[in-house]
């Protein structure tokens, strides 16, 4: 059974400014998400990177945005997008399987349990499908969340620091698994971890208080090994650019 998306992965373009009250959050932003690839926005907390992601997926933000957000194929974006956050957002009263099929249940669609089971097996949780979140580890929960995201079968996937609550080993494993399973989709990863950005980005933006800057990621193909000298070098440079002059 396919994990690949059934729809074509779109390119997404965001341009404009946002402000919270009278305070500008970002100005004259112009970024585009690579169709079918991983775009990372790296930035410290509070620079508005999560706001960009929420604007794209059509969620409420505390900011007022003026500008355009459009998909290359001209289709409305929220209906093509799946969303995954730092918190796994698993419903504590539902089993892993029920959490994975949440989207179809909420829409009143037919529930494809076979596909849900298959996806849980793909994320390595075939033996845990009837467990509730409390019985799973942090890494396992985030894998359920990944299966739920895949279950939505959207060509655009927005990831808001999805791995930042995990321990280093689990995080590295999840990065690789997510990269493998989200292949063929347009992915936006918002992160504050330079190492993560250096490993996963096809296209990379560094966002600081002074603006959003396009940075060249390492030349090799993601997911790049953590200990690759070029990745480590990029990671150090990214950290330096986050800290500013």
């Amino acid at each position: 059974m396919m994990v690949e998306p059934t729809a074509r992965a779109p390119e997404i373009r965001v341009s404009g400014s946002a402000q919270v009250g009278d305070t500008p959050l970002f100005d004259n932003l112009d970024l585009s998400l690579a169709a079918g690839g991983w775009t990372c926005i790296l930035g410290v907390s509070g620079v508005g990177k999560t706001t960009i992601l929420r604007l794209i997926v059509g969620l409420k933000t505390g900011a007022t945005f003026s500008g355009t957000i459009a998909a290359g194929d001209g289709l409305p974006i929220p209906r093509q997008a799946a969303y995954m956050a730092q918190n796994d957002m698993l419903l504590p009263w539902a089993t892993a399987l029920k959490n994975v099929v949440l989207g179809s249940r909420l829409r009143g669609d037919r529930v494809d349990r076979v596909r849900a089971r298959h996806l849980l097996e793909r994320v390595g949780l075939g033996g845990h499908i009837h467990k509730k979140p409390h019985a799973l580890s942090g890494g396992q929960r985030q894998r359920v969340a990944l299966a739920r995201t895949l279950m939505e079968d959207r060509a655009l996937v927005l990831l808001d620091e999805p791995f930042s609550a995990l321990d280093a080993r689990t995080r590295a494993g999840m990065q690789e698994l997510a990269h493998e399973l989200l292949a063929g989709r347009t992915v936006l990863l918002v992160t504050h971890d330079p190492g993560e950005a250096a490993r996963l980005a096809d296209r990379l933006f560094v966002m600081t208080e002074v603006g959003c800057k396009n940075v060249q990621p390492p030349a090799t193909l993601p997911p790049r090994p953590i200990d690759d000298p070029e990745v480590l070098h990029a990671q150090a440079q990214l950290l330096a650019s986050l800290r500013g002059p």
């Binding site: 059509g58 956050a85 918190n87 409390h134």
Partner: protein
């Protein structure tokens, strides 16, 4: 171990009670010694049981109706802003009004029978249940709502599949509160006007200076209330544990 400690505390309280009676040589019609109360309780057990049944029925009926009304009101409040704006001030007003003050009116309208007692119990638990469940319904973790919104969920689906299940712990707190206050409502109703019930029996015994019988009725009421609370608490904990076990 907990049972042992509980029994010890009860034994100690009884001992202090007996000691006060001995030391102050207070007359029995003011404070009867515990042993006399026990004796009266045993001798009047049929009488007490009959009246307990009346009070217990009023409490359980009041609890059921009050919880159903409270849950429905909370759902209505959560569903519509207009209803919220209209009903909430009224709700606060009814709560600010002491329920005690309403008892004579309720007795006038509903008579000396069980109706006025049930109504009192309903009134006294309606607000805590409504407000606890409503608070739970509007405090759904925003992350769940974000997720549901990106999934294209309908409002109905969000209510039934996310908001209500997430609000069950809050409803549980409301039920616990209701379990402690429902007996108060029923007994107030019986004080104002009744032909049976533990509250009625207490007033009757008091009027005839049968203080020992009054104490026996009071203790029975206490046992009844505590049992009800423990039962509801156990039910709430069991259901919640099954629903969403804590980490």
């Amino acid at each position: 171990m907990r049972v042992v400690h509980g029994l010890l505390a009860i034994g100690l309280a009884l001992a202090i009670w007996q000691l006060i009676v001995i030391l102050t040589s207070v007359p029995s019609f003011i404070l009867p010694p515990p042993l006399t109360v026990m004796k009266t309780w045993f001798e009047s057990r049929v009488l007490i049981a009959e009246h307990s049944l009346a009070t217990g029925t009023a409490i359980l009926l009041g609890l059921t109706i009050g919880v159903l009304l409270g849950v429905s009101t909370a759902l209505l409040l959560a569903a519509s802003k207009t209803i919220r704006l209209m009903v909430r001030p009224m709700l606060v007003f009814t709560q600010a009004l002491p329920v005690f003050a309403l008892a004579p009116i309720l007795t006038l309208w509903l008579g000396f029978g069980i109706g006025s007692k049930v109504a009192m119990a309903v009134l006294i638990i309606y607000f805590p249940v409504t407000s606890a469940f409503f608070d739970g319904l509007v405090r759904t973790p925003p992350a769940y709502l974000d997720l549901a919104s990106t999934m294209g969920a309908s409002r109905q689906a969000v209510l039934w599949q996310i908001k209500i299940p997430a609000a069950l712990p809050a409803l549980g707190s409301g039920l616990r509160l209701a379990a402690v206050s429902a007996p108060i409502g029923a007994v107030i109703g019986e004080w104002v006007g009744a032909s049976q019930g533990l509250g009625y029996l207490m007033l009757l015994a008091n009027g005839r200076a049968k203080t020992d019988l009054m104490f026996a009725a009071l203790l029975t009421l206490g046992v009844l209330s505590v049992t009800l609370y423990l039962l509801i608490n156990w039910l709430v904990l069991t259901v919640l544990h099954h629903h969403a076990p804590a980490d």
